[in-house]
């Protein structure tokens, strides 16, 4: 059988409780996978363990049980194959933009000379539109610019997979829109494989090819995997004119508002199989009737 590029098998995380209280199982029996070049978003309420799953994929956290395979190899510990964009940008404040990116690039290609590193860094700094700010320190940049440096740093090491933990969570709506557009452009150009956490339904529809929905924790499950019916290239200003847009959007909002809670209370369809979570492709009612 063909193995997917990234495969998550039976992931489980238990957090010990202090003072003899029973341990909390945040999630268990998590199975999913996706292919190279896909953009995958994971959506769920706080406490369902999305961040933990991302950290396990990054190798920064260890699951209580289960395995992750990427490109046929088991994920054990952090690796340059997986770039991470942190929610709080995680730039080192004593380094300039260029030095922050160069720190990553020289870790990836240890034998490169200064000029090679500089040229390579500049390419990615310009990709996120910060060529003019390359020699500035992070405190001289706005929140959005800092996050763009974080994205440039992650892209610059050309990882096999990019992991993003709510990268735009701390930004205002306007800035978020601008960076989302840039991300769409970069991903269309590079076909980067991305796994991203978000709380923003519109962001997921704009960016993702697949959207993984998690029910509420504890004992969170992968409720379903939604395939985004909107075709590439997706443009933020136009996608809401696509009749499919509201079908997907309503489906996702319904899930977050009510179904995520109901599933956590046990209302699962009888044929639910955690090994193969249902794959849904929301369609407009009118099209359904026509079919």
């Amino acid at each position: 059988m063909n193995q997917p590029f990234l495969k998550v098998e039976g992931l489980k995380k238990v957090f010990p409780s202090p003072g003899g209280a029973p341990d909390v199982t945040v999630f268990e029996n998590i199975h999913f996978g996706f292919e190279k070049g896909e953009f995958v978003c994971i959506i769920g309420h706080s406490g369902c363990g999305k961040s933990t799953i991302l950290n396990v994929l990054a190798g920064l956290d260890e699951a209580t049980a289960g395995n992750v395979f990427m490109d046929g190899r088991e994920v054990k510990g952090p690796s340059l194959d997986r770039g991470v964009v942190f929610q709080s940008h995680a730039l080192m404040p004593w380094l300039t933009v260029m030095e922050n990116v160069a720190f990553a690039v020289s870790s990836r290609w240890k034998d490169w000379n200064k000029e090679q590193v500089r040229t390579h860094c500049m390419k990615y700094i310009e990709l996120v539109g910060l060529g003019h700010a390359a020699d500035k320190k992070p405190h001289q940049l706005s929140g959005g610019m800092k996050q763009r440096v974080g994205i440039a740093r992650a892209f610059a090491i050309e990882p096999k997979m990019l992991l993003m933990d709510e990268p735009f969570g701390a930004l205002d709506a306007l800035t978020r829109g601008v960076i989302q557009d840039e991300l769409v452009k970069i991903c269309d150009a590079t076909h980067q494989t991305v796994f991203m956490i978000t709380h923003d339904v519109d962001e997921a529809i704009l960016l993702a090819d697949k959207i993984v929905l998690m029910s509420n924790g504890p004992l969170a499950k992968i409720a379903e995997i939604v395939e985004n019916p909107l075709p590439h290239p997706r443009v933020r200003q136009e996608i809401h004119h696509d009749p499919q847009f509201y079908a997907v959007r309503n489906h996702l909002v319904d899930f977050l508002v009510s179904r995520s809670k109901l599933i956590a209370q046990g209302e699962l369809s009888s044929d639910y199989d955690p090994l193969h979570p249902p794959v849904i492709r929301p369609v407009v009612e009118a099209l359904k009737l026509a079919a």
């Binding site: 340059l80 770039g83 942190f86 404040p93 405190h139």
Partner: protein, 279 residues
Amino acid sequence: MKASLTLRASMVSALILVVFLGAWQLATLPTGGGAVYADPEYAAMMGGAATQASSMPTPGVVGSTILSQLSNPFYDNGPNDKGIGIQLAYSLSRVLAGFLLAAIVAVPLGFVIGMSPLMYKALNPYIQIMKPISPLAWMPLALYTIKDASLSSIFVIFICSIWPMMINTAHGVASVKKDWLNVARTLEVSAFRTAMQVILPAAAPTILTGMRISMGIAWLVIVAAEMLVGGTGIGYFVWNEWNNLNLSNVIFAIFMIGAVGMLLDMVFGVLAKLVSYQE
């Protein structure tokens, strides 16, 4: 138009100085022949000094002492009469030697304590009991084991500088942001490179604050230590001039101790600025 804050502040500073010098002058004025009785024979023996109400030197006398001492700071007329420059150089060299030895021990050890909760817990009781010991209390032990006065005062500086540096280094290292360490981990950066390029610059401002505190304490302690062991140094100079009853030299030495201490602190202020970063 209002003068700038700096200008107004320096005017107030100058005023305080004038008031202080005026009060000093008044307090040390000779009160004249009538006020104090002196035996005529004694007066003849002592000259004018017998009729003076106070043997505290006037600002003028201290001023001329400062001028004459500073105009020839490096003379050497034998063990009991050396210029202030030589004495300060002795003290500074002891402080620097003790301080550097302490830094060599304290910074790496602080790193270990900051990175390992186990080592922190294991070493904490020793640090807590060693920290409040007055460094001079070590002097007899130092003299007995080292058997050299000068080396003993270096040891005393070492033992008093080590704690603030170690505690601050540990604190700085322990509070390095987890995100920065995670960045290094995801980039597969070696432990040594992480320590040098992530933890060290991140903790540098805290480490430098510790060094600044240590240097301040070391400069306080060296005066007392040299009074105790004698021989050379600014502390010995103060005590020697007290034995000579030369109060104007004592006041001059106090002034120099303050000035050098301020300069040392300023050096660390500049260093702290170099390694500081804004988040």
